[in-house]
């Protein structure tokens, strides 16, 4: 043995069993049937999709009523990812976008399936569902452009 020992490989692997909890469980069960819904905060009236147990702003439990939301929405902002990294499963480049569904008051992140150069803030998109539905937002394969005119900046400027 000669020379210093500088490095050795020490792999770490995490596998967790994560319970969804009753609120998210109801939502994921709907997603597994190809359906989305929101829930409203009784205090500030904001609609959360996916629903949460409580409003992060007011602290109150969201009303249990399942409010229908549309499968169409607006890209509020986005990033074109060109960076590979260990363990990445997405094919590059891809568009990671914040999508504000019509009827929701908070955007959530998802994939936009379009040429990166054609994606814009305000782009109108529609969910396309995977052939294999399950209790995960991966049941939405991606959002695709609807072809409608872009939403005006004022329509989503409060959601950046």
């Amino acid at each position: 043995m000669s020379g210093p020992v500088t490095r050795f490989k020490s792999p770490v692997r995490f596998v967790f069993d994560v319970p969804a909890g009753p609120t998210v469980s109801r939502f994921l069960a709907a997603v597994a049937e190809g359906r989305l819904f929101g829930q409203r905060c009784p205090t500030c009236a904001k609609v959360y999709v996916p629903p949460k147990v409580a409003c992060p702003r007011c602290g109150d439990p969201l009303s249990p009523e399942q409010l229908p939301v549309k499968e169409t929405g607006t890209v509020t902002s986005f990033c074109v990812v060109n960076v590979p990294y260990e363990g990445q499963t997405m094919k590059l480049p891809y568009v990671y976008a914040s999508i504000l569904l019509d009827g929701a008051d908070i955007p959530f992140p998802h994939l936009v399936d379009a040429e990166p150069a054609d994606v814009r803030m305000g782009l109108r998109v529609r969910a396309t569902w995977s052939d294999a539905l399950g209790p995960t937002l991966e049941s939405i394969r991606a959002f695709v452009p609807t072809g409608e005119p872009d939403a005006p900046f004022d329509a989503y400027k409060e959601h950046l």
Binding site: F78, C79, V81, N82, M90, I106, L111, P116, M121, L160
Partner: protein
């Protein structure tokens, strides 16, 4: 509240890979330098407060457990702080609180990251349950915010490039800076690959191994130190990752944190009264974004400070004379380096990147999804 001052500062050599030291060796290098700067030894220290970012960055669970002996903490109080990227700042603030509360006379505070031992992109891109695997590191998360800022403010596209060039030129005067790019220019930055559109490769921080340490002392325990940096005020704020109507570009927690900080130090005109600031800018566009969040510029006009040269070494508010996070980024230590560099400025020990006559300096750090903020103001004159 008792007065507290920084009397010792130490940084490691920061590099992409510090193969010559273990985690323990790395933190000890910074700690011994801070103690030497203060003219003290481990036996003079009452307690140790340590910080770092997520454990997945090195794959060592609770590293503070095994670092106690390397930091001379055996038989003393030792605690770890964790607030994501802002941790280096909040760690220093917890240490300051222990002195200000009169619990301890001298506290050693250390923050570190040894990013080469894992891959930060992997560590910051967990596969969240029930969601598609779209996360792509910090850049992937922050790029949409940068895009939103550009759209909202109408800033010209070259602002991010200018920040990148400024900070890399400043780094050339800092012997501790990791990334040295003597041939940096607008053109070189502009032509670098677009990693997370709209963030280019050269508008992105490096991945560093490094640590920083400070000795904080009560007024009656300064030892022989004649140029302490007095802690004038410090604040920490947080907010949820997501809520309806959250302004992620100009987060309320940051605005509130700065406002309380200024009130605590009696600052009424931050742009005029603060001489220099070390601000956590891991992606170039965060300079103008934080100028607004910190109240140095009105909303949507932070970019003018960059373009007007106000934030350069010769401007009226130099930002990141050290070269900043864009030049050196051991994540957990990056906030403490900001706090320490601010202290160096008012102690007059910043060497070639000294801002002449700096009397009041700001250290700033943020973390998580722009949701944790830690800030302090340090001064040359005793408050």
């Amino acid at each position: 509240m008792n007065r507290c001052a920084v009397i010792g500062i130490g940084q490691t050599r920061h590099a992409a890979k510090r193969d010559d030291v273990s985690l323990a060796g790395l933190v000890r290098e910074a700690a011994l330098r801070a103690l030497a700067d203060a003219g003290l030894g481990f036996s003079d220290i009452d307690a140790v407060v340590i910080g770092k970012a997520p454990d997945t960055f090195e794959g060592v669970m609770m590293p503070e457990l095994y670092l106690a002996d390397a930091l001379g903490a055996v038989g003393k109080p030792m605690m770890r702080v964790h607030t994501a990227g802002s941790v280096g700042g909040s760690t220093a603030i917890v240490a300051a609180h222990l002195v200000q509360a009169g619990v301890h006379k001298r506290v050693l505070t250390v923050a570190f990251e040894k990013q080469s031992e894992s891959e930060a992109m992997w560590a910051l891109s967990p596969k969240f349950p029930f969601q598609p695997p779209l996360l792509a590191g910090a850049g992937g998360y922050f790029a949409p915010l940068v895009r939103s800022y550009i759209r909202r403010s109408g800033a010209p596209p070259e602002v991010g490039i200018k920040v990148s060039v400024k900070d890399r030129k400043n780094a050339l005067k800092n012997p501790y800076a990791h990334l040295l790019l003597p041939d940096i220019s607008d053109e070189v930055v502009e032509k670098s690959p677009m990693l997370w559109d709209p963030i280019r490769y050269l508008e992105t921080c490096p991945s560093s191994d490094g640590a920083a340490a400070m000795v904080l002392a009560a007024e009656d325990s300064l030892g022989g130190v004649t140029n302490p940096a007095w802690v004038l005020a410090s604040e920490v704020r947080s907010e949820p990752t997501m809520f309806a109507g959250r302004d992620q570009v100009n987060p309320r927690a940051g605005r509130d944190c700065a406002k309380a900080l200024y009130a605590g130090a009696g600052i009424t005109e931050p742009r005029r009264q603060i001489d220099v600031a070390e601000v956590y800018v891991p992606f170039s566009w965060f300079e103008p974004m934080w100028m607004e969040n910190l109240g140095f510029a009105p909303e949507n006009e932070g970019w003018r400070l960059t373009l007007d040269g106000a934030t350069s070494m010769t401007g009226d508010l130099p930002i990141n004379p050290s070269g900043g996070v864009l030049s050196t980024n051991p994540i957990g230590a990056s906030g403490m380096i900001r706090f320490a560099e601010a202290a160096m400025q008012v102690r007059g020990t910043a060497g070639a990147h000294q801002v002449d006559g700096a009397k009041i300096a700001m250290g700033h750090a943020y973390g998580g999804a722009s949701q944790f903020f830690a800030m302090w103001l340090v001064g040359r004159d005793k408050p």
